[in-house]
Symmetry: C3
Subunit: 128 residues, 3 copies
Amino acid sequence: MKRIEVTTKSRDQMIDVSNAVQNAVSQLGVTFGNVTVFTPHTTCAITINENVDPGVRKDFLSHLDRAVLWSSAAYQHRGGNAAAHIKSSLVGTSVSIIVDAGQIKLGVWQAIYLCEFDGPRTREIWIG
Amino acid sequence: MKRIEVTTKSRDQMIDVSNAVQNAVSQLGVTFGNVTVFTPHTTCAITINENVDPGVRKDFLSHLDRAVLWSSAAYQHRGGNAAAHIKSSLVGTSVSIIVDAGQIKLGVWQAIYLCEFDGPRTREIWIG
Amino acid sequence: MKRIEVTTKSRDQMIDVSNAVQNAVSQLGVTFGNVTVFTPHTTCAITINENVDPGVRKDFLSHLDRAVLWSSAAYQHRGGNAAAHIKSSLVGTSVSIIVDAGQIKLGVWQAIYLCEFDGPRTREIWIG
């Protein structure tokens, strides 16, 4: 298992970690099969989406923010980040990636993103 | 592959299955790599979230219940549990977990949860 | 890694790819462990749900369409398919499936679906 660290700069942010994941897979020596890209936190997530237009990331974060209000009298969790916990389980804390001949296999337009929902923070991603 | 059984007690519930998953991984003899934690049903799901404050689980189930109404004249499915099928695909029927030196790797605050959306029932979880 | 091609016929559609995934797993020669079923596109997704009543698929696609409006002045992405990108990350671009004695392990009522959110198109699915 390899660990990556990512530092986020705002409450909601998507950071491309594709190159860091490829480096981790190379260091692990995985040549064929699949790897899990996993974040050990409960207020962020991992997803895959388009790697070109930053508007795609803005639209996704904005959608989540409209669907899961940051403040609500209905929230039971007292940490102030109830919405971030909800978003984390909606998006998911991991993705699975196929590895072929040592290379992670992504579509031409795809990148792997850490989704920050309660930043800024330093986050870990585990690959294994 | 190993099977776990979980009995749920209400329509919507999240049950911590982390210890049972660890036991299954130990029995399988997996020491390195990753495992899939999978539920073979279509009205429940598997997720990872915080293992301390029960408010986090209540907030997640409440969010899903507001976002996906239990009753709607628009539903085509006649089983009475259309909402549970929708929630199942929104959350997902599996998670992938890294295994290192025989241990499932979770963050300090993380647990693996079976999410029941159409209980009470007895549910299976498969690990492999 | 094996590739499957699927041709979709409408903007939103769910297509059962379970048999094609089983064939790919057989060709790969995977006998035990798990495989990743992954789509390399950013406006479709992979999910698992009920394989009997087509109403279940209609309800899921309708829910997503109500939750993520196709047209919105708020969207930043100019491709006209901002909603499809959002749905892709909400549902996820892959599922993990356990393989036991060469067989993909699904529940009796489960099928693996490609979810088209910006069709009609020809889509790839990768198994590895």
